[in-house]
């Protein structure tokens, strides 16, 4: 099945791209997706250890199963707000 994978901040810089469309098997978990990305994109391997993942705009964790047509995003811990702490 097909999913869309978005990269932000440091992840985008390391990936060298903003997004990726890819085919994944049904029932694939977030952890399995991270393993696949580590294998396919060596540049991102180290990032996969501390990356945050969202699936359809909600935070998703290792055991979560990815649904068809999901919009997945990978990014570092957030750092919005101001410059005040």
């Amino acid at each position: 099945m097909r999913v869309k994978l978005l990269f932000f901040a440091t992840l985008r810089d390391r990936a060298g791209m903003k997004f990726l469309e890819l085919e994944i098997p049904e029932g694939m978990t977030v952890q399995e997706l991270k393993d696949k990305i580590s294998a396919d994109y060596p540049n991102l391997k180290q990032s996969m250890q501390s990356v945050l993942i969202s699936v359809n705009k909600e935070y998703a964790f290792d055991e979560a199963v990815i649904p068809a047509n999901a919009e997945i995003a990978m990014f570092p811990p957030v750092s919005g707000g101001s410059w005040d702490s």
Binding site: F8, T10, L52, K57, P77, G81, D84, S85
Partner: protein
């Protein structure tokens, strides 16, 4: 008044923040108090490693950021039911020192019903769960500022 009728504004914008306009949008006929937090780009930092900042570049995962801002507003309404209006705005793009980049404002009939605490909670939560990142560009080059909060299931 039901929460569904209470004004809740959340936005990611490239435009200048207009505090007068945002405050007016969350002021109801029985509003008597507002607490507003704004954060600015600091041009000089003295805490930790002393350095100068030329500008910050903000980016957001916009649709998820809006979802999470709404979640922060919902959490505020559960914790402080007297809150009437809530505005949460993050400015993105290239932002220079002394420029407001983020705003959280909460209104209520009275100032002793949690407006200050709610605004403080709002900025703390925004920095934990709303997907926005900033890159500092300064005299020493540029680098991404990384947060350290790891959201838990259900956040």
């Amino acid at each position: 008044m039901q929460p569904s009728n209470l004004p809740t504004i959340f936005s990611i914008t490239e435009s200048e923040l207009d505090l007068n306009d945002l405050l007016a949008q969350i002021t109801l006929p029985n509003t008597g108090a507002a607490a507003i937090f704004t954060g600015m780009v600091r041009g000089e930092t003295r805490r930790g490693e002393v350095h100068d900042t030329a500008y910050l570049e903000y980016e957001a995962y916009v649709p998820m950021a809006e979802t999470k801002m709404k979640q922060v507003a919902d959490e505020i309404r559960v914790k402080w039911p007297a809150i009437e209006g809530i505005a949460i705005v993050q400015r993105v793009g290239k932002l220079y020192p002394q420029t407001p980049t983020v705003l959280i404002a909460c209104t209520a009939a009275h100032r002793d019903t949690g407006v200050f605490e709610a605004a403080r909670y709002g900025i703390d939560r925004l920095k934990e769960i709303v997907p926005v990142w900033k890159k500092e560009v300064g005299t020493n080059g540029e680098f991404w500022v990384e947060g350290d909060y790891l959201p838990k299931p259900g956040e």
